[in-house]
């Protein structure tokens, strides 16, 4: 079900500005990979390059190869919408569709994919909300607006919406940065649970979070403002946080830099 992602020499640009410089890493199926590093070092850009959301921005382009189970997602004949269905994404700020109810939000992706049968949608909504640990809180008010939930609930609603289309990979771009510690904990619990079914890559500024949830950690950094971000070190989370090989990584995780 979950798939392996392989990036080789991925560089992303905004116009003439190079945001990340030849990133290469392999992400194994059914693992959680955390990307950490100071602001502006290209973590999010790299993440958005994995499901081709980077190119949504004007003048954005990318070089290099990014394969998901040996298939290069940047091949000319690849349907970009298929890539995004395969690789779901949860954003930094909860972004449920404001005009839709909780139920409509969860099934929005399925409806986009042409699922019309009410019973299928109902099942998928219930399953996804249960997977997102939200079902018990919202089962009595599925027709209320999704934007009326609390921030943490909204983010779990967005996760439910993402996993409802059964992706292989789930990308999370600082999913907890707008949430309080209790909601954060709920999302982290959820990530452990989802790991059985999905490959998860998470960008986070919270190093404790990276240490708590991830199997592998990638540390990104830049030399100075205006330089492209680079992957400094990528290894088992345990190793990164106890015995990093790079001086820069050690400085960052011990708080001497960034």
């Amino acid at each position: 079900m979950a798939k392996r992602i392989e990036a080789s020499n991925v560089s992303s640009y905004y116009g003439s500005f190079k945001a990340i410089d030849s990133i290469s890493m392999t992400v194994e199926p059914k693992t959680i990979t955390a990307l950490i590093g100071p602001s502006g070092c290209g973590k999010s850009t790299f993440l958005r390059s994995i499901n081709r959301m980077h190119e949504v921005l004007p003048n954005a382009r990318i070089e290099g190869r990014l394969t998901i189970d040996e298939q290069n997602i940047y091949d000319a004949d690849v349907d970009v919408t298929a890539v995004r269905r395969l690789i779901g994404m949860v954003f930094q700020r909860p972004n449920p569709f404001p005009t839709m109810s909780i139920y409509e939000n969860v099934v929005a992706g399925l409806k986009l994919n042409g699922v019309k049968k009410k019973s299928l949608l109902d099942d998928a909504a219930e399953q996804s909300l249960k997977s997102a640990n939200l079902w018990n809180e919202v089962k009595d008010r599925l027709n209320r607006p999704g934007a009326g939930l609390s921030g943490g609930q909204q983010q779990r609603l967005c996760i439910a919406r993402t996993i409802a289309v059964e992706p292989q990979v789930v990308l999370m771009d600082e999913p907890c940065s707008a949430l309080d510690p209790i909601s954060t904990l709920a999302i982290e619990d959820l990530m452990f649970k989802l790991k059985d079914r999905f490959t998860i890559i998470i960008v986070t500024h919270n190093m404790q979070q990276a240490a708590r949830v991830s199997d592998k950690t990638g540390f990104f950094s830049i030399d100075k403002t205006g330089d492209p971000g680079r992957l400094i070190e990528y290894d088992d989370t345990q190793k990164i946080f106890s015995n990093p090989t790079q001086k820069k990584t050690e400085d960052y995780i011990t708080g001497r830099f960034g």
Binding site: M53, V56, T81, G88, F91, P96, F97, G109, L112, R161
Partner: protein, 356 residues
């Protein structure tokens, strides 16, 4: 003092402003004696509120402006009713159901039915034609066109809104009429079995011509307002749709259109308001016949505003009262339309408000 324009600065700096120094001997807390002084935030008696401040002045101004709206509305309604009532009571036939308009005779006979019908029918045709095109243009400008094309194109749309309605009327009468008449003949030939395209002619100054000219006039309003609301769609919702695997059009359908719906309804209603009240363009393009017919292509059609413009000059006292009564009906129609639009917008208010 008079030669010291900036007294307060001098007083703090310990300069020449001697009296100022006496007034505030603290010296901004440099000396130990400042411990005994009250702290910055006060500590003594609070200063009195001044009786005539900018605050109350502005409040008075805005209350007066708000009240002005009510005064104007009441004044207009009172004017319309006071002139209309005598004319309607002099009417020898039922004002609401009679189709023709002879208010200037000794036995005045006039009714609003045909005029109101023509007003609503021409406006509805205008909207049916204009709204889909407007939404298409608005979406193109906000989400599809490259920026260097969208900006000048939007400017041209705004220019179209600035064309005076009499120019549209003249253009409709002298230029647009011939092709519409030809098209009407074609429609009549092939689709004459549908009643709205039936009849034996003549074709030309018809409800269709008036409706199409109105459509062109309504187009820029609906377009620019819709474009505005489409552009305000939160980027993160558009990204959410794209990340779910939506194509561009699916993204527009999932995120942009639902978000913009109340704004689009408001835009359409504004366009309808313009169409209902349009005077000179319709006076120049309609056949100005007092009858009720769904036939769109035969010479005919009339509207309340066009009728006022064309018959006011030769009207006597009762005739003017009758025209004012027709204006009152137009006022009522517009009011109903506006309230209906608000009802639609408020129905899903819960969703809109919680999104903010």
């Amino acid at each position: 003092m008079g030669d010291n324009p900036s007294r307060s600065t001098d007083a703090n700096a310990g300069g020449a402003g001697v009296t100022g120094r006496h007034a505030s001997p603290v010296g901004i807390g440099v000396s130990p004696s400042s411990y005994e002084e009250p702290p910055f935030g006060g500590g003594g008696a609070l200063p009195k509120k001044s009786r005539f401040s900018m605050e109350s002045g502005f409040r008075g101004l805005s209350v007066a402006s708000g009240a002005m709206v009510l005064v104007i509305i009441v004044a207009i309604a009172a004017f319309l009713i006071s002139k209309a009532v005598p004319a309607i009571s002099a009417d020898k036939v039922n004002f609401l159901s009679f189709k023709e308009w002879f208010p200037n005779e000794t036995e005045p006979r006039f009714g609003i039915a045909a005029l109101a019908f023509g007003t609503v029918l021409s406006s509805v045709i205008a909207l049916i034609v204009a709204v889909p095109i407007s939404l298409g243009i608005a979406l193109f400008l906000s989400h599809y066109a490259p920026k260097r094309l969208a900006t000048p194109l939007g400017f041209v749309m705004d220019l179209l809104a600035a064309v005076p309605s009499v120019v549209f009327g003249l253009w409709g009468r002298d230029v647009f009429q011939a092709p519409v008449a030809d098209f009407s003949v074609w429609l009549n030939h092939y689709f004459g079995w549908i009643p709205i395209f039936g009849g034996e002619g003549p074709f030309g100054q018809s409800i269709m011509l008036g409706g199409l000219v109105l459509a062109i006039m309504v187009l820029p309003i609906v377009t620019s307002l819709s474009r505005e609301v489409f552009q305000q769609t939160p980027g993160m919702n558009e990204e959410a749709a794209l990340a779910l695997g939506a194509t561009k059009w699916e993204m527009v359908r999932t995120a942009v259109l639902p978000y913009g719906k109340p704004g689009v309804i408001a835009a359409v209603m504004l366009g309808l308001g313009r169409a209902l009240g349009e005077t000179i363009a319709l006076a120049l393009t309609l056949g100005l016949v007092y009858n009720i017919s769904f036939n769109l292509i035969q010479v005919g059609g009339n509207s309340i505003a066009a009728n006022i413009a064309t018959t006011f000059a030769e009207a006597n006292d009762t005739g003017r009262g009758a025209l004012i009564a027709s204006g009152l009906v137009l006022f009522a129609i517009t009011l109903v339309v506006n309230m209906a639009a608000r009802a639609i917008i408020y129905r899903r208010r819960e969703f809109r408000d919680s999104a903010a």
